[in-house]
Subunit: 168 residues, 3 copies
């Protein structure tokens, strides 16, 4: 993995960058629009989706908050979260920043980006930054479509894990 | 309106995406630079600018915090806000994320994007996220220029409305 | 300096915009990945890096929190910050928004962008927005590379200065 991406222009043309950017934005938007079930469509059927604290990730500790090994498993996981969690009505709002292409192998693109999730409570209107972190994605380009082959969301705070009621 | 925008690459070439992105960034910047009067220049003379809570928007309730039906009306509104509001000196800072093209009809482009507004109080330096939400824009492309035909800002918290001292 | 950038499309083609964007993202990423020493590589050897409050900047007051006149001086400054500061373990996360090209003179590009820095404390997991502001950059394009000739970070709150433990 490159530590600098300043040669990105050599790796990827504008059209493909926009395809990747739109995939990452789409994931965020379906969650924000309260259609979290739709993220499963953006994951390759054999894809992997993992949410992990930076603390565990930096130490190569295996413990993850979410670790799905297929789109079907992700669908199951979302369904169970919807059923199991009883929580106060709330809205998520994703802010994505700094999408960079790190590496390329044919139609497989490695990217990093920053995310922030802001939660607004429906009743009292409280606004709070509940997650920040880095997404480390491996994206498969098809002709005019992109899907996540691997999506690893590393969040910065190790204290917040218990509050996760839907995927990031 | 499409619910997925993954075919965006078919809808819009890079040059036009940059034009749209720059229009949305420009709106944010003129407010952040304390030149809110200049947003009226970015709205089509017959354009519409609306600020509404997500609560009201989701229920199709008509009540909006701001609802201007022309650039002239927006100019009047800003002038009256400048005159009427007595408030502690403060700075806005916009963070924009996830600009996606949803649909296109000729030179009319439908987009969505997320916004966050962070306020810093001049006296005590307090930094606070005061708004998050989704912008639903209809943008008119001219030759090398873009203007808002409709700009709808839907903010997530319904409690915060009374604090709005300038447009978002 | 232009006050509007809507003619940006005339100033800069997509490839160059991506190069500039990637430079700005790279600066943020190396800090977030706890490799702040690497920002010196992104500054021209004779480049200038300044961090200043909006209050001082608006009044043309010379006082800056950081003001380095070369990459070597920036390296020294980072080293001394690493040595001098004793502080609780913490992570930074940058959110960048609104990169706009303001002006161009040959291979010299003037840009503005917004930044936000969110800090997470390692021990108690507290998440806090500690900086927002505007970056006013002058960027030198080389063939397939970009470097900062001048990087001026103007932050919104004048109260927060004492908390700066690493560059923004």
């Amino acid at each position: 993995m490159n530590t600098t991406s300043l040669k990105k222009a050599d790796l990827i043309p504008p059209d493909e960058y926009f395809l990747i950017q739109d995939l990452i934005f789409e994931w965020a938007r379906v969650i924000d629009e309260n259609r979290v079930e739709d993220i499963a469509k953006l994951l390759d059927s054999q894809g992997r989706y993992t949410v992990k604290s930076r603390f565990n990730h930096d130490r190569d500790l295996p413990l993850a908050v979410i670790d799905c090994h297929s789109a079907a498993q992700l669908r199951d996981r979302i369904l169970s979260m919807r059923l199991a969690n009883v929580y106060e009505p709330q809205h998520y709002r994703h802010i994505i920043s700094g999408i960079q292409v790190m590496d390329r192998e044919g139609q497989i693109i490695h990217t990093r980006s920053n995310f922030m999730v802001v939660r607004t409570m429906d009743l009292d209107g409280e606004i709070k930054v509940i997650f920040t972190g880095q997404a480390q994605d491996i994206i498969q380009l098809h002709e005019s479509e992109a899907k996540f082959k691997e999506r690893l969301m590393v969040f910065d705070s190790r204290v917040i894990e218990t509050l996760l009621v839907i995927p990031l």
